[in-house]
């Protein structure tokens, strides 16, 4: 089937290098996510693959076929947009049938495939409805069915969940992942939400200023960030001088809040560091602490809830950390 190769792709808007020499290989059937803050070039890169944005340099291939100079409508891509982009002048069935009609599918075959696609996104029986009668989540399902029904070589998602409410986002992302895996279509997903990226992706490419910052499996980037940016973007972390923890070397290290524990709750072999509690938040399942160390730096700690513990701002506290989870940043 279709892997995607991106080689030396570049694009500038005025003096801004939106995409700056990106090289990527996405495997066949892989769920690949472009993650980064707004303006990092992830959407531009996605639009280059879709054919809505020209390349200044480099090339993009689907399998062995170079596609970056093909007109967008000949690329055989299913795309799901941030604002759904469901055609308001067509019914739900009309929307789903749109791409099939462009491919000259007709008659019973057309009806069968439309029904199949609607059933796949749990909208069976909604064919005759009009888009303005649907909720945001249902519109996004229509958009997904419309993109899937043409059996594209590649599925592109442009922040598809950002207009949905938090609860729906969580259930929809699981659904999208499940659909993609069951159909085996190579997918590229753009988001700025780190948690969403980790939950759906096989691999993530973290982007900043038009460049790839780090590429890898979600857990790998989380656990072994190679840069300060990666460490901070992939969740909360403590960025501190190695010296502060009493370690050798002059560089910065990243230590996740959950790698820190209170002295009494930690294994004996872990190194200790002392400080004063500056702030306590009991969030339910976890308790967040800010602890000020002797040199004035602040450590964020996330501990599981523990009923017999009393913590008050101003109290001295001894912390322990997992030495295996200290990441040295280069």
């Amino acid at each position: 089937m279709t892997g995607i190769v991106i080689e030396g792709v570049e694009r500038s808007f005025g003096s801004v290098r939106a995409v700056d020499g990106v090289n990527l290989t996405v495997g066949d059937g892989e769920f690949f996510t472009l993650l980064g803050p707004s303006g990092c070039g992830k959407t531009t890169l996605l639009r280059m693959i879709a054919g809505f944005c020209e390349l200044d340099g480099g090339e993009i291939r689907f399998g062995a076929k170079r596609i970056d100079r093909l007109p967008a409508h000949t690329r055989d891509i299913g795309m799901v947009f941030q604002n759904y982009a469901v055609f308001p002048n067509l019914t739900v069935a009309g929307n789903v049938a749109y791409g099939l009609k462009a491919r000259r599918v007709a008659g019973t075959e057309l009806a069968r495939r439309v029904d199949e696609a609607l059933a796949l996104v749990q909208l069976a029986g909604y064919g005759e409805r009009w888009p303005h009668q649907l909720s945001g989540g249902q519109l996004q399902r229509v958009a997904i069915a419309r993109a899937l029904v043409i059996r594209p070589q590649v599925l592109l998602f442009d922040e598809p969940l950002s207009n949905l409410d938090a609860r729906l986002r969580v259930s929809m992302r699981a659904e999208i992942r499940e659909l993609q895996k069951s159909l085996g279509i190579t997918a590229i997903y753009v988001t700025h939400d780190q948690e969403e990226a980790m939950s759906v992706s096989d691999r993530i490419a973290l982007m900043q200023s038009g460049k790839l910052e780090q590429v890898g499996a979600p857990a790998e980037i989380y656990r072994n960030p190679t840069s300060r940016f990666a460490a901070e973007f992939m969740g909360t972390t403590n960025l501190i001088e190695a010296r502060t923890l009493g370690r050798d070397g002059a560089g910065m290290v990243s230590l996740r809040p959950e790698a820190l524990r209170l002295d009494s709750e930690a294994p004996a072999g872990w190194p200790r560091v002392g400080g004063v509690i500056a702030h306590v938040e009991i969030l339910g399942p976890i308790t967040r602490l800010d602890v000020r160390l002797a040199d004035g730096s602040l450590l964020k700690v996330a501990a599981l809830d523990e009923p017999h513990r009393t913590l008050a701002p101003g109290a001295a506290v001894m912390l322990a950390y997992d030495p295996a989870r200290v990441t040295v940043l280069t």
Binding site: A72, H73, F87, Y98, A143, A147
Partner: protein, 550 residues
Amino acid sequence: MRLAIPHQQRMPLAIAALGFLFLGLFLLYPLFNVFSASVLDADGEKFTLANYFKVLGRPFYRAAVTNTLAIGVTATLTTMLISVPFAFALARLPVPGKAAILALAAMPLVLPSFVSAYAIVLLLGRAGIVTQWLNAWGIGFGSIYGAGGIVLVYTLTLYPYVLLPTMAGFKAVDVSVEEAAQSLGSSPRRTLWTVTLPIVIPSILAGGLLVFIETLENFGVPFVLAEDMPIFAVEAFKLFIGETAPNPSSAGVLGVLLILTTAAVLLIQRRYLSARRFATGARAAPPILRVGTGLRIAAAVYCWTVVLLALVPFFAIVVLSFMEFRGPVLHPNFSLDNFRILFDRSTRPLLNTLLFATMAAIAVTLVGVPIAYVVTRVRSTLATVLDVIATLPFAIAGTVLAIGFVVSFNSGWLILTGGPLIMVLAYTVRKVPFAVRSSSAILHQIDPSLEEASISLGRSPLQTFGRILVPLMLGGILSGFVLTWVTVASELSATVVLYSGSWRTLTVVMFQALESGGGGVATAAASTLIVVTLLPIALLYRLVRRYELS
């Protein structure tokens, strides 16, 4: 280095190229010829500024400039004076029958203004019905010929240009701004003067500007009412018709001056308005104010009076067209003679009017909608230039454009004079800005990702345009079509320059009847014209209503 055009840009570039070709040939080229006529000597060979000195050296033409400007400024002020309280009443006061008022208030925009002028003459002119009736009672009043009458007709026919945007402006004021002022201790009256009105001023001025430009370009109203008073557009026409030299230099001078005046006004407006945009982003229209009975009655009487007064001339024309005329003299007996004479002579003028309006409306749609697409969807210098050129006809008087057409297309490789095509082309160029404006307004509301979705599903950009954009824009395209149709049907200023032989329209019949004193035929042509303009509007209104109800 590849010179191939990237596929994303192929369709917009093709449209832009065709747009430039059309507007270049039928707008810029004729305008250039008007300009060159004004700076060449009588034989059209040597460069000279003598024409400007000659024309502006004569007090008559200097008076034409000052009269036109003075009338324009006065009419702009009177329309504002009438429309601002009207708009406030419609937006914020409890006035009965608002929907009806709005529908009636929009009518003067589509009805031909010179018909209104002619009706004023029939009613209040020297031999006018009302004049004679008043004279019988021994009451006299000043002449309605000249500046006074022209300003009156402009005020009655052009006030909707200020009313509609101003009302929208009042409705867009975020009520919390007013509440903030009052919570700071400002009385409702003071709040209106210090907060609400200043926010609305850009809308008032934008409308006033339309009125001013309209008065500069108008040919029919001063033609009917000015008598001996020289007016820009009329004198340009007379000079052009009267000039026997191969080079219409004097008409060219007046044409260039007219264009420069309009351009100057537009530039000033751009300067002023671009710095003053007070969008307050109201989520809902501000509430209707609670006021005393006295004010409520006064507001209702005021609104209804203005709306009906503006329509009285048109109503009068229809009534008068069913009366007996002997020459220009009116007799109060019912008669169908006027229509019989009009249509016995020939039904061609009516058919020509219908034919030209239809052809021009189709052409305007075909030219304007694609240009609107490029202007809204492409961000480049090319698109900006196209936008400016496509807006240009708005600032060009019909008379001037028509003179340019005659100069450009009466010889050489493309000869159009003497036929119907030249008229349709002139109408098309004149109305292109309206189609571009109305289409781009809708396009701005259509998310570009709908097009991208269609393209990614396998439809080419051209197919996407036809299958997604056109259906979504249909309402706007249709109302633009009807508006073009209606305004072309009552077009006079370019028509009187360009018509020939059997290609007369209803407006030409009216024009000629006025010149020769055939009042009966003129009223019959005018009422036919009123019916011709109101029918499509009524149809469109019903269509829109049905569409909205379903």
